[in-house]
Symmetry: D2
Subunit: 298 residues, 4 copies
């Protein structure tokens, strides 16, 4: 074929598989969002519309066909989102660049396409489009993945506490940004809460949970009664991922599974849907009894 | 700090730098574009609007602030685009995942945001957004990068020749897709051209160059006269990238360069702008005398 | 410094760390040992001297100062050896090439230096020295590492069964090598055992366990009575590795541990020594109650 | 097969190919050679026997069958050695760990086996064997590889200059090591030469070139007259490596080369042998007209 004399350049593509049985996270971050948020006049310290848009874009990633339902939970704060995959995930041969670019692309497309719904009066500028970079990080066991999510939620907490007091001082307290920064230097959490309460009458614990705890995108089963109700619309319900084998990679020459000719009818799989919640996942309770229970199994 | 007990998870982030002085290409590919093109009823064998949209999105990538003007040329065909960077590129510390995700994200955002301009009557569906994956490939010298681009253009040629005849047979010749496929099996280039000409009166060489050769996004200097003309608008003109040192990485302990106190005035750098052309870059002439001359130097 | 203008070449060294908390194996293989074993007239199907030399070289690796006592078990068969490290191992910053080259080098040096003790009448030829290559493989949990070792022991079993019958047919049964190969084609384990027993009176289960099960180099505690006996020499007893933290990587900004001024005296750590055994590590019992118990903990 | 249920662990082996057309260097370093050199009472500042042993071991690596004659030059100083491979090298599929471990193993075996010839009165201790680690570094063009070798030779020069004066001060000048260190602090090259000459009558330029410039192991052609002389023994002469294609990887579907049935007789390839020289490779002359000419071509 005419092109073959140049085809040698394809040999420079080097495979980049993840290890066969690691858990992994794809974390995306807004690029230049400081300027972007100014351009669109985001509320300080948190813009509800912008956070809801992030959440909705994340829901499109987790529930979208590109990930085949294999992302089990996502966590977001500010302009970043983390997507968590189980050790049994076989998506795209576990090729790192394939997976990370797909997540970034679906997120970016959704964020851009959904923008007008959340910011109807502030259209995107073609030379200042929302852009995200991404990376993939591997972990070896459930505790590490739990701690990864705890790390992000603690980060949410620390940043939000600071920003809440900072912007109260500036917006309500009449300080300059420099004064506010200096006033907060070296303060610990309880002191910041005290400033908030004594000067501005704000009880930090009543601040919107989405601001304090970030957002969790997670699957939940749809109760059978709900799915049967005529006319009831559940959206989006994605199909269960194909069941994955317990072994990280099946032996090449394993015997074919023995099956009877008459397959027994399986009970129908429960439908599931994505929900967005703002819960404390730092405490063990969330993992032992809450939505995190069994999340990383299998 | 409260979060420090979980911060160990950050140590799982492993650096993925490109080699310090390789040329490299980021190639992106549409994901599931067969279905996407059906959904939006793309013309066969080529949809001019779709190709122009790809080109415009690519121009936003090459000229956008995210790449700092460091992408020197891009080549596109169908639903793929290749972005070429020189060996001296120091963008984002040459971190592979950072660079590849940024390119994919800017491209996706531009494609999504520009869509209504190119397909005003076929709005995007939120559950079928345009998605691209990407990879980065390193090369060691100019010839390999030239051959990379030749490889893509030969691919464009082969695919377009086939598709042009195939769809002529189907759309004008009344064959089914199966019949057309069978009729073309084993034919060589000259035979396909003969079918095109004898049955449909089409001289392949007069087919739109964009279809036959793909699209090249490349910088060109703006003539001084043009930039000085009052009221003349040149868009987009991005700043020259900061000049890069000839050495791939400056020695850590090199002495500071000696400079005189009175810096001489440099002549102003020529302005440049991006153009989209459909030229033959397989022949040496393009590299020796055409737009490719000096493209990969320095 | 005079050399600085060339020091940029150092920037081409790219880090290759293992993930922070994987288990890993360094496996080395003899290079060209078919010819090497002919040159030194190794016994067929197994050469006791050669296997003992492999074991002794492996013991020097596991117990040597280079690995700091961090290799917890090694398994050998034929001309290969696998060295297993726990997830908490921090040796040499977990740099892959550093670790794998050190293991290969220590093994090669020991094999070469010990050779005359095991083959006093067959001196090494300078142009046919024993050479080993190596690789490092990461695993995410204990079961995978256990299965890795099981995989090697099953391999030992299969190879030795075949070789034992093959060489009995050739050396005692008067077949040519081709005849023996043909005679064994398609036979299963029980048939091979039957040939061995009926034709050569050999009960496979009485074959030397080192041949059937391979060799395990493993630490065991030295009973206190034994170490206290005057004049008793225990060799080699390497020091315990420095205790490693339970977390795969300590948070950078963790508070300093609180210590009292008067440190309590710790009870002396039990001494340990390396033993070489030929046990079945495929069965769960070895891991639940045998030497494998607790081996991979912590 | 019985072992198949564990064979999945093999899937954890991840490929580590070098890029298809980089030049690369394998550099090995003595591990703990400070102690090793004390144990065997190496002369200060340089031990001729130890350097000759390093050189001879390196010659065994470069000329040995394991590298198939594909290492084109090696450079050594002190307890380190660098082995240089051309961009066309296809050894072992360019697998990084395979290549680096082979080099380390051959070097270690040769160093250990040759030891008694160089240190007949100081036998190796089994618990202090000579050990080397290794790494592989890739470069994209000839200049970088030249600069790599210049970097090592400048390093040789700087270290040797310092050590020569330091040990003159200590061994001949009666200083303590601390005094010598202090006396040399901050001195530049010309000052060190002045101390050497004025205090000890040593002209630095007359110091053994092996100490000042390091050692180069390189191939040279054997003149035909020499090879024809009866009884003349040239050792070792390794065969030329199989000629490699100019393209880094041949296209998969390239047509078979056309050959005539009667192959013409090729003129016999010139024989070549390894020599060890101590030349200046920093100056361009060595590369333009000296032994470096054409060294990295093809």
């Amino acid at each position: 074929m005419a092109g073959s004399r140049y085809a040698y350049v394809k040999s420079f593509e080097i495979a980049d598989p993840l290890l066969p049985s690691t858990f992994f996270v794809v974390r995306i971050d807004g690029k230049g969002f400081h300027g972007f948020s100014k351009l669109h006049d985001f509320d300080k310290p948190n813009d509800v519309r912008a956070l809801n848009l992030m959440n909705e874009a994340a829901r499109r990633v987790v529930g979208g066909r590109e990930l085949n339902g294999e992302c089990v939970v996502a966590f977001g704060e500010s302009d970043e989102y983390s997507f968590v995959f189980k050790r049994t995930c076989r998506l795209h041969g576990r090729r790192a660049s394939k997976i990370v670019t797909l997540v970034v692309s679906v997120f970016t497309a959704a964020y851009t396409a959904l923008w007008p719904q959340f910011f109807p009066n502030s259209p995107l500028a073609l030379d200042h489009l929302p852009v995200f970079d991404g990376r993939v990080v591997q972990y070896t066991n459930e505790l590490e993945i739990q701690d990864y999510l705890r790390w992000r939620q603690v980060d949410t907490h620390i940043n939000n506490m600071y920003n809440t007091v900072f912007w109260a001082l500036v917006l309500q307290g009449g300080r300059t940004e420099q004064q506010a920064e200096q006033e907060l230097r070296g303060t610990i959490s309880s002191q910041k809460q005290e400033i908030l309460f004594s000067q501005f009458g704000i009880n930090y614990n009543t601040v919107d949970a989405m601001f304090r705890k970030g957002s969790i995108v997670i699957w939940e089963e749809v109760p059978p009664t709900e799915t049967k109700e005529p006319g009831h619309k559940v959206e989006p319900v994605t199909p269960e991922p194909a069941s994955t084998p317990p072994q990280p990679a099946p032996p090449a020459d394993s015997p074919a599974p023995i099956t009877t000719m008459r397959q027994r009818k399986k009970p129908p799989k429960p439908k599931r849907r994505l929900v967005i919640v703002h819960e404390d996942l730092i405490a063990d309770a969330w993992w032992a009894e809450g939505r995190g229970k069994g999340l990383l199994d299998g």
